[in-house]
């Protein structure tokens, strides 16, 4: 598997009036070409912040305070802003949660796509770009006539398909989709996920799928990364993480999803309590106040990262030497 993006010790800090909030804290993981990586975790654990950080677009007062983002051999954090801009939309594309608000209400659908194509490929004529857009949205199951429509004339599902289409128009190497189906109703969501599956196979998409819906991850992702309170708790192939679950938080998360059958009838306790404030996170393992398996060391030292099975790792004192 060829690594496409290596995230190393990434930390993102929001400077708030109450003090710094580390919404992403020393997070490392790799995205491989052609895979769908699910990124899950409770609301507020830093998923969107992480997604925006990969584009170097964290909203102020947020700032990437340390780490490296190695994308196709280059550290994105070292690029001048203009180089980074050229990467956005062309190599890394973003699909946002709410398709109602992520298109310019005064710009026709077609012009969104044409503008993006011509920003990155200035030699392409308007007409050519328009034709490319037409072929593309036809593939997405939307009539090319719709290119002349304004965003408000399209349904939510269509708009979300357009957002994906913008990523496909330039053959982006990596698409980050931040809860792309949250605002869609169930049937439209299912259709959209079907389309994503088709596109994944057809275009060999590399996709980071941010979601708090474990079911979506089970259906679509090859690997899954579980975040808790700004830190990475567990990463691994979907099957491993679901059936050989390591981290107590992941277990709790899975227990709250009845649709996932666990092989050996493992009894899992559902999560109690609420995620901690990131302003003053608990010391040591941030999960310890809610963890049913917590040990004394858990509240004192941050658990180190350990790979337990090939490609399946976790940060938890249950799997690490305390003396180390």
């Amino acid at each position: 598997m060829e690594p496409l993006l290596q995230v190393e010790h990434l930390t993102v800090t929001y400077e708030t009036r109450q003090g710094p909030v580390r919404a992403v804290d020393d997070v490392s993981f790799t995205v491989y070409r052609g895979e769908v990586l699910g990124l899950v975790g409770e609301s507020g654990c830093g998923k969107s912040t992480l997604g925006m950080a990969l584009l170097r677009m964290v909203r102020p007062p947020g700032r990437i305070t340390s780490g490296r983002l190695i994308f196709q051999g280059r550290d994105l954090l070292q690029l001048p802003e203009n180089e980074m801009r050229k990467l956005r939309g062309r190599h890394i594309s973003m699909v946002f949660q709410d398709p109602m608000t992520s298109l310019n209400p005064l710009q026709r659908i077609g012009d969104h796509i044409v503008e993006t194509i011509r920003t990155h490929e200035p030699h392409v004529s308007k007409k050519e770009a328009w034709e490319r857009a037409a072929r593309l949205i036809q593939r997405l199951g939307i009539s090319p006539d719709r290119l002349r429509d304004y965003p408000h004339q399209l349904s939510g599902g269509m708009r979300q398909r357009i957002m994906i289409g913008i990523g496909l128009a330039l053959n982006a190497d990596l698409i980050i989709a931040d809860e792309p189906t949250t605002s869609l109703d169930v049937i439209v969501e299912a259709q959209f996920l079907d389309l994503l599956r088709e596109l994944r196979d057809e275009f060999n998409l590399t996709l980071i799928l941010i979601t708090h819906n474990i079911g979506v991850v089970a259906e679509l992702a090859d690997r899954v990364a579980v975040m808790y309170a700004g830190r990475m708790a567990e990463i691994g192939p979907v099957h491993d993480v679901f059936h050989r679950t390591l981290h107590p938080y992941t277990k709790g998360l899975l227990a709250s999803v009845p649709s996932i059958r666990l092989e050996d009838g493992l009894e899992l306790e559902t999560l109690s309590g609420a995620p901690p404030s990131l302003l003053e996170p608990p010391p040591g393992c941030r999960f310890h106040p809610r963890c049913p398996q917590a040990k004394p060391i858990c509240s004192q030292r941050v658990p180190p990262w350990k790979e337990i099975h090939p490609g399946h790792g976790t940060a938890c004192w249950l799997y690490a030497e305390e003396g180390a």
């Binding site: 677009m57 909203r59 939309g89 594309s93 608000t101 992520s102 310019n104 710009q107 503008e115 913008i166």
Partner: protein
């Protein structure tokens, strides 16, 4: 678009009662106000019988409600009547028609200056939020709005007219002999249309200071409005999404965001048009600009009731048609709006 047509028709019909109330108010105020059109137009000390005779021929001795009825009846027939003073018996409509292009030219030029300066600087301030430029522009917006418009005009006359001698300080053109052939009545436009470059340059030079005065005066409101609208729009998801597509920052700010911010600004332009006309009246007096504003001020001193009423009706019609125009623009810019 058919529904837009119907909407515009209703809007037009609604202006009729509005104008009715306005002319009634003006009619009453003029009659209550001290001063008399006959006395102000003849030599002081003329015999009372002579005055009474004139009043009789002009119908000013009739009961007020009869005068009012006559006036409305004429207005209904689009007859604005004849002047009372300083010269009797001239057609008010014709005089207004002669003064109108000058005002229109000044108002349009002022609006253009306001739009470019106000919207441009406001967008720039929002783009460079919290920079020195932003703070300076915000200060500018407050100061320029607080300054009386005639004082601003006087300062311009002093600096650019008297000291630097760049621009003329009065009138629309150096002499009527060089005025361009009458097409629209706007000297700058007519001289362009006829290719009369000398007249174009001359009329532009004359227009510069009054248009700047009027335009800058109103620009403060638009700097503030544009800036705050832009700051709101720049926070919206589609702006983030545009950046995430790699669209250059300048395009994001000055094309995507500004166009969205313009919608409320256009409404504001419509609303400010009344203020623009008020500013025009004052600016015209400062710069001896031979337009409707100066005409109105002059006729008020003569108590020339028909001229005053006529000018007010025309101003009201102007404000009403501009707000109608704004509605059309609105529908053209924003595809979501359908009436």
């Amino acid at each position: 678009m058919r529904s837009l047509g119907r909407y515009l028709l209703i809007r037009t019909l609604l202006t009729i009662p509005m104008i009715f109330v306005l002319v009634t108010l003006v009619f009453i105020i003029l009659r209550v106000m001290p001063g008399d059109p006959v006395k102000s137009s003849i030599r002081p000390g003329a015999p009372q019988e002579y005055i009474n005779e004139i009043r009789h021929t002009l119908g000013l001795d009739k009961p007020l409600y009869v005068q009012y009825g006559d006036y409305l009846w004429d207005l209904l027939h689009l007859d604005l009547g004849t002047t009372l003073s300083p010269v009797r018996g001239q057609s008010v409509a014709k005089q207004i028609w002669e003064h109108f292009p000058a005002t229109l030219e000044l108002a349009l030029a002022g609006m253009l200056v306001t739009a470019i300066v106000g919207v441009g600087l406001g967008a720039y301030a929002a783009h460079h939020r919290r920079s020195l430029a932003d703070y300076s522009l915000r200060l500018y917006a407050i100061v320029i709005y607080a300054i009386p418009v005639f004082w601003l005009g006087l300062m311009f006359q002093l600096v650019f007219g008297v000291w630097l001698k760049i621009f003329p300080v009065a009138g629309r053109i150096s002499s009527l002999a060089v005025a361009p052939k009458h097409i629209t009545g706007l000297y700058t436009v007519d001289s362009l249309l006829t290719g009369n470059w000398a007249a174009f340059k001359d009329s532009m030079m004359h227009l510069a200071l009054p248009a700047l005065t009027l335009g800058l005066y109103l620009s403060g409101v638009f700097v503030r409005l544009t800036r705050s609208n832009m700051l709101q729009v720049l926070k919206m998801d589609f702006v983030t999404a545009a950046r995430a597509r790699g669209i250059p920052e300048r395009t994001v700010v000055y094309r995507h965001a500004l166009k969205n911010a313009l919608i409320p600004i256009i409404t504001m332009m419509g609303l400010q048009f009344a203020l623009l006309l008020a500013g025009a009246v004052l600016t015209e007096s400062t710069f001896s600009w031979p337009g409707l504003g100066r005409f109105l001020v002059e006729r008020i001193t003569y108590r020339d009731f028909p001229s005053i009423q006529g000018a007010v009706v025309v101003f009201a019609l102007l404000v009403a048609s501009v707000s109608l125009l704004v509605d059309i623009l609105y529908a053209l810019i924003d595809p979501r709006i359908r009436y």
